[in-house]
């Protein structure tokens, strides 16, 4: 592997280099240290602890940042925060290395070479923002506002991002959710009327985890809760074609045939109905259309499912019995990255229904705490301009069940490429890396080629920034304020714990300054970040200083409404969905056999590792230090058939691309599958730690769009493997 100069630098040297960059910064708009001294978080010498929120993934744990002489030196989990309980995962612990990454972008950059050549020149904010505004307005003038597409995901500044795009007048909003869990969200919306009910492990006795690799795809509090539940004797059935670290903690691992989770769950439902092993009073009172389900699943016996799933009928019987006996302290987990197969949507529906049958509502499955909390104010703003253009991603005119704020990212990319229903000309991207996240990387790069103008907001030079025309440097999460986040009955704050480095600025500042130049000043009526937060807090009568000092404030207990009512059309848990039926889809989950690999091909599986989040953390040197080398997993039998051995460099070929990667021969995977850790294979040479490490699965993934949920089918790509 190639060496870089970085590899010889040690941690101390790196942090002092970053400190040098800070000294060069001329404008420190927030005066973090002074403000923190004022409220008492820091002492006179700039030492102390400041409470804030993590942003190393989307779980947003509470963080206590230890600051010494105005430098952040250690992060701890905030014991008061329900997502961290005093703990941080490897990513959370490494967070200060994102901030002190020697590859940080510390000044606006304007491209001078060809796209993808990585040649940029530094520019002032004025010049960069003027250039962005000029190009966006030119596109608007020539082609209409819909010719600008916007994409960003899952961050706290998203309300202001939405102001920018809807204020501009574009309907085209890309989030990464269709690459992740659209199937789960849409299934829960239809069944329970909410995106994702909360899970409670405190009384759990029996858990079915379907591809939810909780010890590697970590959500700190939930991962801890799982380990506690297992230690307290809960039985965990783990279903996955891979023997993951979670499998090693489970009571039972079932290496199911990929794409057949639906058949397994339909068989559980069938058997529990046949044996009357469901909560009859609950079902009668709260479920809609259960009688129709009884008929519909009549043929889905465990004996039917056995040859499909590769799981013995007796095992399915036993699990159905154990699961129903543990009810209501039983839970079927709805999974996490659920965009796996073309039948992922009915799979999620079946899981939602299986839970409902046990009557576990209010016990292991709860109303989502994040929905309905708040009471926060917001700055005044005018109504958005009327948009007449259709969305490029087909929502809702082609995909009526996909929420507008979620969309179908891969479909948007394809529409850009095809120029249908109209041609897009500009792309505004904030903190997202579609070059690595979207399936079929070549297509994404081609779609970039269709763009007159690409602007990206980021912290380090990710692959998407590498291909952009203008890159705007955002402050890291330890350097900025973001809009407030209600969590249960508390409001938490993300606040700067150190001064911004270089010329980096917060998203709130960037969107406002760009908005002004686009003539959208009225959508950004706040003088600065603190003013924005004060306007949010105004209706609650809470001072920003109080919130800043503690990191959170308690809200008065809400009534919360009745627990046994759901925001579905009927107010019940909808087993049978009229809405689906009217749109021409099956109103009940029904078996669909997904495509299978041809002889000699493998399912290409995806799945996380505990040290990284998606496509943005691979350059973090602390995570790099403790990660495994990303290799292609293959079963020893399959390797032997192909004449391959451990560490061989292999060429992996899919219908859309080829990559080379080292092989990891392991019994921890079925012989009809291979697995590649996502997030590696970066194209940007501006990522000096991550560049050249591993290969990208997005270069291999074939694009699919689920007609109901819009989800991509990430495990439905079949590949061949040979020695490189």
């Amino acid at each position: 592997m190639p060496e870089t100069k970085i590899s010889r630098r040690d941690f101390i040297k790196l942090t002092s280099l970053a400190g040098g960059a800070l000294a060069l910064g001329q404008f420190l708009p927030l005066q973090v240290a002074r403000a923190a001294r004022d409220i008492g978080s820091l002492d006179d010498r700039g030492n102390g602890t400041i409470s804030t929120l993590c942003e190393m993934c989307v779980w947003r744990c509470g963080v206590l940042a230890k600051v010494v002489e105005e430098r952040v030196v250690k992060l701890e989990g905030n014991p008061e925060h329900p997502h961290s309980h005093g703990k941080l995962c490897a990513r959370g612990q490494s967070g200060l290395m994102n901030t002190y990454d020697p590859d940080r972008i510390l000044t606006p950059l304007i491209r001078v070479g060809q796209r993808g050549e990585g040649k940029f020149r530094p520019a002032s904010w004025d010049e960069a923002l003027n250039l962005v505004a000029e190009n966006m307005l030119k596109i608007k003038r020539n082609y209409g506002p819909e010719a600008m597409v916007f994409s960003s995901t899952h961050n706290l500044s998203q309300p202001q991002f939405e102001n920018l795009l809807y204020g501009f007048g574009s309907p085209n909003y890309g989030t990464q959710r269709s690459l992740c869990f659209n199937a789960m969200i849409v299934a829960n919306l239809i069944t329970y009327g909410m995106e994702e009910p909360d899970r409670d492990y405190s009384q759990l006795k029996y858990l079915i985890l379907t591809g939810r690799n909780l010890t590697e795809a970590i959500s700190t509090s939930e991962t801890s809760a799982l380990v506690d539940a297992i230690a307290s004797g809960a039985k965990v059935v783990y279903i996955d074609p891979r023997f993951t670290k979670t499998a090693s903690k489970a009571s039972e691992w079932l290496p199911i045939r990929p794409g057949t989770d639906l058949a397994f769950h339909l068989a559980l439902i069938n058997f529990m109905i046949a044996e009357k092993r469901y909560n009859q009073p609950f079902v009668e009172q709260y479920l809609l259309g259960f009688d129709k389900l009884v008929e519909a699943v009549a043929g889905y016996t465990p004996e039917w499912a056995a040859p499909i799933t590769g799981i013995d009928a007796q095992v399915i019987h036993r699990i159905a019995v154990e699961f129903s006996e543990a009810a209501p302290y039983a839970l079927a987990h709805n999974g996490w990255r659920t965009s796996n197969f073309i039948n992922s949507f009915p799979t999620e529906r079946a899981i939602a229904i299986l839970n409902a049958m046990t009557g576990n509502w209010g016990v292991t499955l709860l109303p989502s705490a994040e929905e309905g909390a708040g009471g926060l104010g917001q700055p005044p703003q005018p109504p958005y301009p009327r948009v007449s253009a259709q969305r490029l991603d087909g929502v809702p005119w082609k995909y009526p069940f996909v929420p507008l704020k979620i969309g179908i990212f891969q479909q948007m990319r394809d529409a850009i490429l095809e120029g249908q229903p109209y041609q897009a000309h500009g792309w505004f991207i904030s903190r997202q890396n579609p070059v690595l996240s979207l399936p079929d990387q070549q297509k994404t790069l081609e779609a970039f080629g269709k763009m007159d103008f690409i602007v990206s907001v980021d912290i380090i030079m990710n692959d998407t920034d590498w291909f952009a025309d203008v890159v705007l440097p955002e402050t890291s999460y330890l350097e900025r304020y973001d809009p407030l986040v209600p969590m249960g009955n508390r409001i938490f704050i993300r606040q700067p714990v150190i001064e911004p480095q270089g010329d980096a600025r917060s998203a709130l500042w960037i969107y406002k300054e760009l908005g002004k130049r686009l003539g959208l000043g009225d959508f950004f009526q706040y003088t600065d970040e603190e003013d924005y937060l004060r306007q949010e807090l105004a209706p609650l009568g809470i001072s920003l200083e109080e919130l800043r000092l503690r990191g959170y404030v308690d809200l008065p207990e809400g009534n919360g409404g009745t627990e046994f009512q759901w925001s579905t059309p009927s107010g019940k848990i909808e087993v049978y969905s009229d809405a689906l039926g009217k749109a021409g889809f099956d109103p009940l989950p029904a078996w669909q056999e997904p495509p299978q690999p041809k002889s000699g091909e493998f399912y290409l599986l995806t799945g996380k590792v505990g040290q990284h989040t998606q496509f943005g953390t691979q350059n973090n040197q602390l995570l790099h230090k403790y990660q495994d080398v990303p290799r292609l997993w293959i079963n020893p039998e399959a390797a032997q058939t192909l004449g391959l051995k451990d560490w061989d460099l292999v060429e992996v070929t899919s219908p859309v691309g080829k990559v080379k990667v080292a092989l990891q021969v392991t019994p921890a995977i079925r012989s009809d599958c291979v697995y590649l850790t996502p997030g590696f294979g970066h194209l940007s040479k501006g990522l000096r730690t991550a560049y050249g490490v591993g290969s990208s699965d997005s270069a291999l993934h074939v694009t699919y769009v689920d007609p109901i949920s819009g989800g991509q089918a990430l495990s439905q790509t079949f590949v061949s493997v040979k020695k490189a």
């Binding site: 941690f11 701890e76 903690k249 691992w253 079932l254 995570l623 790099h624």
Partner: protein
């Protein structure tokens, strides 16, 4: 040697998920060079016959032995067993970086910091203990696998955990005629299949960092030390103590302290 405190790690192997939060937390807290580590999670690898597979993770660091081989070979007196805490510490002002202790440690948990010319290893985050905080690895352990505390205090979390344990395993090592008497106590290690003959605990000899898998330890680096399962009397290798009656163990320790 009577000590005021008897600090020890108790690690419940059944709760370790190999998330490596402890490794990163240690790295940040103690700011050692990026090409070294003070703390490891040993991965036994996938064991067993398909589909009855198993895999366990054994976190470890300096064992803060009661009879540490490292202090005996230290020519400058820099490495010492602290009389108050019972921790094995390195006075880096006094250390001359000769490396004898690195060779002497059977667990391979010491390294020479080339830049400073001194030896470094886990000090149980004494800087945190002084202000009442647990070691960084313990504080952030997602699975609550790692515990740390004073075995002389019968009400400490570690004492209670040992008292309630079904089994306790230590990775004891016979150096000459003396056992190392390590102070990492493993819970549920015996129940989960114990230590395998292929397991070895030692440090990477040739660290090629940060591009190479310096977390994953190479076969060669590990050959230095072998740990056969329950191998008392087998060619002077490790003794793995499986104490199934923990009460005995705790009482034994009390006697020792008095």
């Amino acid at each position: 040697m009577p000590q005021k405190n008897h600090y020890a790690f108790v690690i419940d192997v059944s709760r370790c998920i190999d998330c490596r939060a402890c490794l990163v937390a240690c790295s940040v807290e103690n700011k050692f060079p990026m090409n070294h580590t003070r703390i490891w999670v040993h991965d036994q690898g996938v064991q067993g016959e398909w589909p009855a597979l198993s895999r366990i993770f054994i976190p470890y660091n300096c064992m803060h032995c009661d009879t540490p081989p490292c202090t005996e070979v230290c020519v400058s007196g820099a490495t010492y067993k602290d009389k108050v805490s019972g921790l094995v510490l390195v006075d880096q002002q006094a250390c001359i970086g000769c490396g004898f202790c690195v060779e002497a440690c059977p667990y391979g948990v010491r390294y020479i910091d080339e830049k400073r010319g001194v030896v470094d290893k886990c000090n149980a985050c004494v800087q945190r203990l002084e202000v009442g905080l647990p070691p960084a690895c313990v504080a952030t352990c997602l699975g609550k696998a790692r515990m740390f505390g004073d075995l002389n205090d019968p009400n400490s979390e570690v004492s209670i955990a040992l008292k309630n344990a079904k089994s306790v395993v230590r990775l004891d090592y016979e150096v000459g005629r003396t056992d190392t008497d390590p102070n990492i106590y493993y819970l549920n290690l015996a129940e989960m299949g114990g230590v395998k003959s292929s397991d070895s605990f030692g440090q990477v000899k040739q660290a090629a960092l940060p591009r190479e898998p310096h977390y994953t330890i190479s076969e060669e680096g590990w050959k230095k030390v072998l740990v056969p399962l329950i191998a008392a009397g087998m060619g002077g290798a490790f003794l793995v103590q499986a104490t199934f009656f923990t009460k005995q163990l705790i009482e034994g320790e009390k006697e020792f302290d008095e």
